[in-house]
Symmetry: C2
């Protein structure tokens, strides 16, 4: 690993270690934190200040302790918790003892409305803490590079070993391993699409190529898969060649908007989050251009119950340009072209479970991660994975799988029973 | 049957028999019809004029002959086919020899865009042929009375005998009878809702009470069901009493907006079509008011792939105030209250199949229908049922089943396998 890649990922421009201070907390610091906790409905959380003093407003013994190292972190947490929790934690200005997932769950469900993303104050904070990120062809390339080109070795540490799926798995039962559940997800997707030998597939946003290779190997499909992440495409191409499927799966380093040719199946798993609302009609147009009259289409994406911007910290530090749509917003892909939505399934809790597996492996691989990246990165990713578990558990995020066809196509399975074979 | 009920249903104010004419068709009549047929992409349809002359532009032998009895019907068909086909056919100014379903399918798929509902001309014709119909409390009562209070005996002639379901059935296999498929539908709905003994249900728009009674009898639920159709409520109450379930199912003659109390399950099958877009947020508010924190909600409705007004003739003669929403429009029920959509299933072809069963029974009961209503009615309902089959077959109409819960409720089945027991 070069020093460059150690520094790149999170673009921290501030100091990367905690600001240490010898100044004692003032009475107003403590009063403000006490007020903040009571507005958060007195959660089972204690806040330990840099002089060792502990503040809590709950009656029971706190499950979680937030250790705040300086005044800046304290006031950031109070005034802009959605953003500053992440900033302060990843820079070491704040430590968490106890269950970090639970802490974010509390934050998500107890945050007073005036601090919410959609409140006037929240919107103002949004504007302050983020530049507009446009998913133009160049913008998308930059945003995707930021996250997915971190390093293939890094993702290999904690994703499933067989298919490198960086999207929600499908747990047919709770005791499945992440490898089993990702394999089940790939089958679930292929069954929804009624994939059969010889089918020509266009895949938009193919990650490390797992789905495309699976479709070719397990279902005899012929796949053309697009992705703008250079690292991922290289990885996918090498793997397909190694396994002797380079003639059945073509990995193209290009934007989905440049997809060419026609297909029996259009599939996109985990790309829509990066497409941006303004481009939904464009995406629909790409599908309309490519999908044959009897073709099947499928989109798998993180979503929302109601519109709201991405968490500011995640958007700035982890996923620039990302936006999880509501079902209503997603319909802008389908309605202009009269695509007929056949099936929507919400797999929210499967994503929480998937992330639990990822976080467990991530924590088990910390020594290796520390050789790759600095401590800011290690902490930021712990918070990102934990916070995502929380977001799916408390219904802040959803996972939608949407199956669709042409409006005149009557070749539709009579029931969805075929999705549950041998169960 | 009183004379009044014979005349009421369709409110025809024009003559109820064909206008007979001795005037020969002009050359311009024939030219215009020929042009119309060629704009319709030369379908396998012949038009026989009132002097016996036959016009066709297709090469093959026509499957269908439209017999036009006078000039008024001819020009109505050419200039405003979506509305005037129904008007002329039901009044006897036009006859159809051959498959009426196929004729409407051709009309739906080949109509030139400038005559379409969404075109400027189409929108102007919309305005001309329809008064604004508002689903206020009083307006809804009037609209529902128009259709559902026709006569219980009439609907008994052709709906399934066991549960009187005037909504889409669910054919587990194609050889099921309509009785079996409606029973399967009721189970499918109850399974989606994970209905269990003791569950308290609020049903909005209960028809003749079939679902409510089924939920009480088969699942041990306690149901409060609302409907503003006096005839239907009376029928439902009497049946529940006859079967000894009057303590388990309460049928209330009132608007869904007046639903009171709280429930474990909120269900509405086939009512949303009559709610009107402007009231979706109101409906969502009613559900939000009634549904407990761990409750399940379900809406079953006719829908569209993209927004367009109801067919003008159906809206005027059959279903005043009706509007089938797109999924995007439906989200106005759920988003404002952060309901989480868990499952959407599109059963479009099941409704085509359901209507085929209904039409077959309707035709077999014509003698009895003629004792109840006049010939205009008989013809109008034949066209309505045939046209509806066509609309579902060509994807002009969809059938959406939407399951939803509260955002924080994690009691969600891990897969949808439980919907397919023993298959």
């Amino acid at each position: 690993m070069s020093t460059k890649s150690k520094e790149f990922p999170l673009n921290f421009t501030e100091t990367t270690g905690p600001i240490t201070t010898s100044a004692k907390p003032w009475a107003v610091d403590k009063k403000a934190m006490r007020l903040f906790l009571s507005m958060m409905k007195n959660p089972p959380v204690a806040v330990e200040l840099w002089d060792g003093d502990r503040i809590r407003t709950c009656r029971q013994q706190p499950d979680i302790t937030i250790k705040v190292k300086n005044r800046q972190a304290l006031w950031g947490l109070i005034l802009n918790p959605e953003f500053k929790l992440g900033e302060a934690y990843s820079m070491g200005d704040l430590d968490v003892e106890g269950d970090m997932v639970k802490l974010v769950e509390i934050g998500s469900t107890h945050l007073p409305e005036f601090l919410d993303n959609r409140s006037p104050l929240g919107k103002a904070l949004n504007l302050l803490s983020r530049k507009a990120r446009r998913n133009t062809l160049a913008g998308s390339r930059h945003h995707i590079h930021h996250h997915y080109d971190l390093s293939n070795e890094f993702y290999e540490l904690w994703l499933d070993r067989d298919h490198m799926q960086y999207t929600c798995a499908y747990f047919e039962s709770l005791d499945q391993t992440i490898e089993q559940a990702q394999c089940a997800k790939l089958h679930h997707v292929c069954r929804k699409l009624r994939l059969k030998p010889g089918d020509e597939v266009i895949e938009a946003g193919c990650g490390w190529g797992g789905l495309g290779l699976f479709m070719a190997k397990e279902y005899g499909a012929k796949v053309k898969a697009y992705n703008i992440s250079h690292e991922q495409i290289k990885y996918a191409q090498e793997k397909a060649k190694r396994e002797g499927f380079q003639d059945r799966v073509e990995y193209v380093e290009d934007d989905y908007r440049n997809a060419s040719g026609t297909c029996d199946v259009f599939v996109s798993v985990g790309m829509l989050e990066h497409v941006g609302r303004k481009n939904y009609k464009v995406l629909g147009g790409v599908i309309d251009r490519c999908l044959r009259e009897d073709g099947r289409g499928f989109i798998h994406t993180i979503g929302r119950n109601r519109p709201r911007p991405m968490n500011r910290w995640i958007e700035k530090r982890i996923f620039p340009g990302a936006y999880p749509p509501t079902l209503k917003e997603m319909m802008d892909i389908f309605e202009p072209y009269s695509f007929s939505v056949l099936d929507v399934e919400n797999l929210r809790l499967h994503y929480a479970k998937t992330l639990e597996h990822w976080l467990q492996r991530y924590e088990a691989s910390l020594d290796t991660v520390r050789q790759m990246f600095d401590e800011n990165f290690v902490r930021a990713w712990r918070l990102y994975l934990s916070g995502s578990i929380a977001a799916f558990r408390v219904g802040d995020l959803q996972l939608f799988q949407v199956l669709f066809q042409r409006p005149l196509d009557n070749n539709v399975p009579w029931t969805r029973e075929h999705l549950y074979p041998g169960q």
